[in-house]
């Protein structure tokens, strides 16, 4: 039977210990990937994998990732919503890994929303 090895988890625990616990609400950016049927069929999973790779390779510790259901804009999927603390959330539409990386670099890292992939720039509520 293949299983995770406890030694590996212990090693990771030691390595990661001391980094911020983002679950307590002290994150700078929250990224929500829409994981309804429409989103998944259109490619939401590669978008999620790309975000994980970006977070890992840039050693980012102040970004939280989460998933939500269908936002009712099925023909715009895959979509994600980015909420920078203190700013209005922005929804990005018809994504792929490449667009996702660009959004991560420009919006999440540098603070400049990528207007060409955004649904609308304005005060929107998240679903």
């Amino acid at each position: 039977m293949a299983k995770l090895r406890i030694e590996d988890l212990k090693r990771i625990k030691e390595g990661v210990k001391g980094t911020v616990n983002l679950r307590e609400g002290n994150f700078r950016v929250k990224i929500t990937v829409h994981m309804g049927t429409c989103g998944i069929a259109a490619g939401a999973r590669p978008v999620m994998s790309t975000l994980l790779k970006e977070i890992e390779s840039r050693h980012v510790t102040d970004v939280i990732l989460t998933s939500s259901g269908c936002a009712g804009l099925c023909s715009h999927e895959p979509m994600l919503t980015i909420e920078v603390q203190g700013q209005a959330p922005i929804k990005y539409i018809r994504l792929d890994p490449e667009k996702t990386s660009k959004i991560f670099e420009e919006h999440v890292m540098q603070g400049n929303p990528v207007a060409e992939y955004a649904l609308s720039l304005g005060s929107e509520t998240t679903h």
């Binding site: 293949a2 090895r5 988890l9 994981m35 049927t37 069929a41 999620m48 989460t66 009712g72």
Partner: protein, 208 residues
């Protein structure tokens, strides 16, 4: 009149519908139903039996469940409790994929107890979708729902790969399960296909 309007609506609303490319995407989708139903523990089992030529996927949750009427309706795309769109496609699409591969789905549910969805397939059927990237599905689920616990088991002719996020969290002792090195470890474990002759080698995969 009403029927006609409904048919038009169906055509219009279905236009966005894409197929799920593989079974791991169906699993991601059906598990998202369970998290939407407030489940805190979700079991995902993928069993392949080459002698019986069957593949069975079971997804069991402890979410809010459905009453009998809802269970009988849920295979109909017009059945949804979501408010953003009038059709629910997840379960109907899974049923379609199962049927195309000589199989079927079965749903049992009890309000306030939970739901079990079982999809079975003829394993060697030419239209049976491949499992696909099940590791990516599990990583996406854990990442998007860090407070939900998952029990995962994949078995091929009795040789299994197992994962239980409750055990992992216990070992991590406060460190988040969404830390990239933890997810990479999970990814490596689940990307390897369980193999009969390779019982000892399977440990290697987990340690890479």
């Amino acid at each position: 009149m009403k029927t006609a309007a409904r048919t038009t609506g169906r055509a219009a609303e279905r236009r966005w519908t894409a197929e799920m490319e593989d079974l791991s995407l169906h699993i991601l989708d059906v598990v998202e139903n369970a998290t939407a139903a407030g489940a805190t523990l979700i079991e995902i089992r993928i069993h392949e039996d080459s002698r019986k030529d069957r593949m069975v996927i079971t997804i069991k949750d402890n979410g809010q469940g459905m009453d009998g009427e809802m269970v009988t309706k849920v295979k109909d795309p017009f059945c949804t409790t979501r408010t953003t769109r009038r059709v629910g496609m997840g379960i109907p699409l899974l049923e379609q994929s199962a049927r195309e591969a000589g199989g079927s789905i079965e749903i049992t549910s009890e309000p306030n107890v939970g739901t079990e969805v079982v999809a079975s397939f003829c394993a060697s059927h030419i239209d049976r979708k491949p499992l696909g990237d099940i590791a990516a599905t599990m990583v996406a689920l854990i990442l998007g729902n860090p407070d939900v616990d998952f029990i995962y088991q994949r078995s091929i002719d009795g040789v299994t790969t197992d994962l239980d996020t409750r055990e992992i969290k216990e070992q991590l002792d406060g460190v988040s399960i969404t830390a990239p090195p933890v997810l990479n470890l999970i990814q490596d474990l689940l990307s390897a296909t369980p193999e009969g002759e390779d019982l000892n080698g399977s440990d290697q995969t987990a340690s890479s």
